[in-house]
Symmetry: C2
Subunit: 317 residues, 2 copies
């Protein structure tokens, strides 16, 4: 039986999963990310974990790796800002240890999109965009069943579309009014604090308590006026951005994941409303749904990427 | 010698070109579009023209057709608003007359993009976006050397991104602030008239004369303050929109065609400036250049599309 290993490298943990060809997960585990020695430790961590869990890779056909940064088509990664490592190619590094395995590499958001297409809410679709709402706003793009990399691996970085011309604060990218500043967990908290400072409306939210996006959504759902206004304002920019994405590549479905997506249908309803308003030309609107694989989307997608690449190679032979 | 026919269906004329495999144009001609009999005349026009010019198709390997409306992946066209025809598939219609030829169908803007990639300013690139600035703003998207169709053939319709929140007039799509309202020839004239009515600045432009985008650009280039302001304002939205496109699919190059693009480097400079401002995350910016095939991009691309499809089929065999 052919098995595929999916590896999802994050700033805190590296996640691993072993999958059958049909997408059944046989085992999953994670280890804390060790970014010492300019990233060298990371690779020995990954190879050791794979060897230990797969009898030195005996039953493994392919290994896929999701990386938190732009990945070029040949697997080369110029920089992972969060990990502080530069200029490496996991395909080459892992290829030296596992010379007879297919190694595939992709950006974590794109890989998560592939995971959702394989075993999550993107099943049955070939043209989809996955948006991750967490500390920032990330995105992965799949067209005709394949990851869209783009020239420098920067496809799907929709968090830095400057969609709010009224924004006065700076984004980490140096711009103003990025989607990231509005629709991320950080963005929702930031905007809610502004409204609290302005005393926009009476509210159950307390400035002195540590505010989270979850608290804001919970209050909004319970009818809190200030919280509801904050959520709607922030998500309106997400709806608008998805309309922009539609006008570029016209996907069948948008899948919303990441911590903020736990707000569920309440969130989807608002995003859909604004998406519809901004995509008037489109008679049949794209569907907007919640992701279902949660934090496992990355390992699913990484394994699937390796499987697809192996299949592609075999077909060429 | 294999030959490919490119057909570009427009509202006024149908353009035809016969090409060698290497992209040399052997003959080109055009006939006025006849949209009588619910579009039936159109197809007899096209088949007759091809038969007459190619000795009944004897030397032809494939025929490609560019259609002014959204085209689905199987060639189906739901509606061509400009032609007033609905629910047809050129692949089937032409396939009945030319059963042994490869027939390929694509949206005119996407097909023009393929033309520019083959023999125009997109040569050497595989990830590109072509923007056509004419009566409206159109767009064609190529990723990995292939046309991106999208779910309903609406990819590349960037003219209806609502990028100007300050717009008060309605767009044809029912929205407000679409790129189409700003950066098309019509949009530039419209905004210039607004400035004239406001007496924004002394100007050589005369409200009473018929204003054209060309006149506005000529005046702007000659130092006219009102014209220069109008052009910069209108094109700023194009630069912003291209940045949005970059964050979705990260193309290597943008190619600007259509009547307005005759404004040349003056236009490119402004668009590039605003594109750079709105795409801060991207260290290496996409190139922005002028199209070089002019009105022939469509026939080049249509022929190329047929050639690529034939090649794809042969490879599968």
């Amino acid at each position: 039986m052919k098995q595929f290993v999916g590896v999802d490298i994050g700033g805190t943990d590296i996640k691993f999963g072993i999958f059958t060809e049909t997408g059944n997960i046989l085992e999953k585990w994670q280890v804390p990310t060790d970014i010492g020695s300019q990233g060298e430790n990371l690779w020995s961590q990954i190879t050791t974990e794979i060897c230990v869990h797969t009898d030195n890779g005996r039953s493994v056909s392919g290994i896929g790796v999701g990386v938190p940064g732009p990945v070029q088509k040949d697997g080369f990664v110029e920089v992972c800002v969060n990990l502080g490592i530069r200029n490496f190619n996991p395909r080459e590094i892992l290829g030296r240890v596992f010379p007879d395995k297919t190694i595939a590499v992709g950006n974590d958001a794109n890989v998560a999109a592939l995971g959702e297409m394989w075993q999550g809410s993107g099943q049955g679709y070939e043209n989809l965009v996955v948006i991750t709402l967490g500390t920032g706003v990330g995105g992965g793009v799949i067209m005709d069943g394949k990851i869209v990399y783009g020239a420098k691996g920067l496809s799907g970085e929709i968090g830095h579309m400057m969609v709010n011309p009224d924004e006065t604060e700076l984004c980490t990218c140096g711009g103003r009014g990025c989607l990231d500043q509005m629709a991320s967990a950080t963005g929702i908290v930031r905007y809610t604090k502004k409204l609290l400072a302005q005393k926009y409306a009476p509210t159950v939210l307390d400035e002195k308590e540590a505010l989270t996006a979850k608290k804001v959504f919970d209050a909004a759902r319970a009818g809190d006026k200030l919280a509801a206004h904050s959520v709607e304002h922030c998500l309106s920019f997400l709806g608008k951005s998805l309309a922009f994405v539609s006008y570029v590549i016209d996907p069948e479905i948008f899948i919303i994941g990441g911590g903020v997506s736990h707000a569920g249908d309440y969130l989807i309803k608002i995003v859909q409303e604004y998406y519809d308003q901004y995509s008037l030309l489109k008679k049949e609107k794209a569907r907007i749904v919640l992701a279902t694989l949660g934090n496992d989307a990355g390992i699913y997608g990484a394994a699937r990427m390796a499987q697809k690449e192996k299949k592609g190679k075999n077909e060429k032979v």
